[in-house]
């Protein structure tokens, strides 16, 4: 059930700014808004099943989240592929699972990417750690040079 006349890109920021570095995803969306106020940005605590339907309207999807993984350079930006990775003991869904659902339910595979920004502190507090701030700035620079100029974020 592909919809006609798709928009170019939707960006999901996942996290919670009330939990220190878990807010990296939302903060990155705030940054994108300053770069182009017309981008389609979605703030999420967690991805949800209806997001599988929402992304039908887009050619490209970018998921942005904090990560505990050691990313080396403070962040990674990589292709996201559909995957049947589920846990029904939690309400949260992975980006790969959302893509898998879109594929299964609507037979559609948008181009998809994940930006994972490394975080370190996760307590109930507003404000990110110093190290996370360095990482998000690196990711911003990368996006300015390599992603935004590609215009994939402009609808």
């Amino acid at each position: 059930m592909k919809k006609e006349g798709k928009y170019k890109t939707i960006v999901f920021g996942i996290g919670n700014t009330g939990r220190q570095d878990d807010g990296l995803g939302w903060l990155f969306l705030d940054f994108l808004k300053t770069q182009n106020p017309h981008m389609d940005l979605e703030y999420r605590y967690q991805l949800q099943i209806e997001d599988a339907e929402l992304i039908l309207n887009y050619e490209t999807v970018i998921f942005i989240d904090a990560t505990k993984e050691d990313t080396g350079d403070g962040f990674y930006f990589k292709t996201c592929k559909p995957s049947e990775a589920y846990s029904f003991s939690t309400h949260a869904l992975k980006p790969e699972t959302i893509l898998h659902l879109t594929n299964t339910l609507y037979y559609y595979n948008p181009k998809a990417f994940i930006l994972g920004i490394q975080g370190y502190q996760w307590e109930l507090e507003i404000g990110i750690s110093k190290k996370a701030k360095i990482n998000i700035n690196k990711a911003k620079d990368y996006f300015k040079k390599n992603v935004i100029v590609d215009c994939i974020l402009t609808n």
Partner: protein
């Protein structure tokens, strides 16, 4: 002694794990459901101006931020001198519309995403196939409807709160925006999304599905995790009907005897205590008069349907009557009936949303009231998972000095422990081999309560569930992650 652990590995979010202690003959010696949730929030909010509470509390939970927003807003209304009935009718109705949207989408998520895989494929099915993807493959129409119902509720939240995340609908003394004509028509005319009439129709279809499922599987559903408990919730102040936004507190015991007789919200503290256990950070609320041992209650859909005198919407009321017939009008203590009760509430929410969407008051600009400042406020609502209590005290400089939250999952703490014990004693105890299906039955019992174990935070790479089996010497002999 063997120790069996079912442990969701989480980072900082609500953290729950199950430990089942077996003796050398594999008989269950004891079992616990441990939870860490909302740690530090009550202190975190201290010192903030009271008007920030409805916004800050949304950070508590990524699953039901609207419920926390509304409970806090009701409490803060009191701080500005207004009890629930003092708000303008349009403000009350817009808040209710927001609330029904929230409960509707939350119940849809739980049923389609979390519960339906167990029901459709059975608890012994291969875990890799017991998930929503398999539901999508085998029951495409059901899965699509589930997604659209969930979306409808989220769109109601957006229309009333401005946005789905960090929307600000409720403000002290009312709401900050009305519903626009364009937004209202969006839900009624079927042009862009299936209309509210479709939501009602689909809700009924799903209830028909669950009734049919009960007919076929009644033996299992009637016996699984059936144990006595109290049942707590809000009821309408006038007629004792089902109430989700504002009502009196009522509790009945396992036999239907009244243990809390329609108590006003402001008096809750006189009737409740919170017990603590060394093995869990989550408290154990109970009714003071009955005591910790027997004074605990279930909350949520099953409790609400048990305690109410009726439902004001006709279709949901028909279904409530049929539901009550299953136990000849008596209290229903069967955990698996929670799913059925949840779907009746989903229908109720859909009917209520239709009524509110057709009410011109939601288009009104009469949104705010003022009162005389107080130093204390209590807000109680029925969140999707059950009774949610927010209680604040403020100083003369408008700063919050004390905050007490009793959330739904806390009320259900002992009930979920009882559910685990039931499965441990009836399914696992004495067996020589612990199978995946047995372990899943522990989760099935807990899942019926839809506990909020993944609140507030989330990150890439999370592994939300770990199952570990230790032998009597404490050695890890079996571990599963999913």
């Amino acid at each position: 002694m063997k120790k069996l652990v079912i442990d969701p590995v989480t980072r900082v979010e609500g953290h729950g794990k199950v430990t089942i202690h077996l003796d050398e003959d594999n008989k269950v010696k004891d079992s616990f459901f441990h939870i860490v949730e909302f740690r530090g929030f009550e202190r975190f909010i201290q010192g903030h101006p009271y008007w920030e509470a409805p916004v800050l509390v949304q950070r508590l939970c990524g699953i039901c931020p609207v419920s926390h927003h509304l409970a806090a807003a009701k409490a803060i209304d009191q701080i500005v001198g207004l009890d629930p009935g003092d708000l303008s009718l349009p403000a009350q109705k817009i808040r209710k519309l927001l609330h029904f949207g929230q409960v509707f989408q939350s119940h849809a998520l739980h049923f389609f995403y979390l519960a339906s895989p167990d029901l459709l494929f059975g608890v012994n099915a291969d875990p890799s196939k017991r998930n929503v993807a398999e539901v999508a493959i085998k029951h495409l129409d059901l899965a699509k409807k589930g997604i659209l119902m969930r979306k409808f509720g989220q769109e109601i939240i957006k229309a009333t709160a401005g946005k789905r995340i960090h929307g600000i609908s409720a403000i002290p003394g009312g709401v900050h925006k009305k519903v626009t004509l364009k937004d209202r028509d969006y839900f009624l005319n079927s042009k862009e999304i299936p209309s509210i009439d479709a939501m009602i129709h689909w809700s009924k279809e799903i209830i028909d599905f669950i009734k049919n499922y009960h007919e076929i599987n009644h033996k299992w559903l009637n016996s699984f995790a059936d144990y006595p408990s109290g049942h707590l919730g809000l009821v309408n102040k006038e007629n004792g009907f089902l109430e989700l936004y504002d009502g009196n507190l009522r509790a009945l015991d396992a036999n239907g005897k009244v243990t809390l007789n329609d108590v006003p919200n402001d008096d809750y503290i006189q009737y409740f205590n919170e017990g603590v256990e060394k093995w869990s950070y989550l408290k154990f609320p109970y009714l003071k008069e009955i005591g910790k041992e027997n004074g605990w209650n279930r909350v949520g859909p099953l409790a609400r349907i048990n305690i109410c005198n009726g439902i004001e919407t006709p279709l949901a009321e028909e279904e409530r009557i049929l539901f009550k017939l299953e136990t000849n009008g008596k209290i229903n203590n069967k955990t698996m009936y929670s799913h059925w009760a949840r779907l009746i509430e989903m229908l109720y929410c859909a009917e209520m949303m239709k009524s509110l969407l057709n009410d011109v008051d939601i288009l009104s600009n009469d949104l705010l009231r003022k009162g005389t400042r107080r130093n204390e406020g209590i807000g109680i609502i029925e969140a999707p998972r059950g009774t949610l209590i927010h209680h604040y005290e403020v100083d003369d400089k408008d700063r919050i000095t004390r905050c007490n939250l009793i959330v739904s999952t806390t009320h259900n703490n002992e009930a979920m422990n009882q559910a685990v014990k039931w499965v441990a004693n009836n399914v696992i105890s004495g067996k020589t081999k612990i199978t995946e299906g047995m372990l899943n039955q522990v989760e099935v019992a807990i899942r019926a309560y839809d506990p909020c174990l993944s609140c507030a935070t989330h990150a890439l790479g999370q592994m939300p569930l770990e199952v570990s089996l230790y032998n009597h010497a404490g050695e890890l002999i079996h571990e599963k992650r999913r």
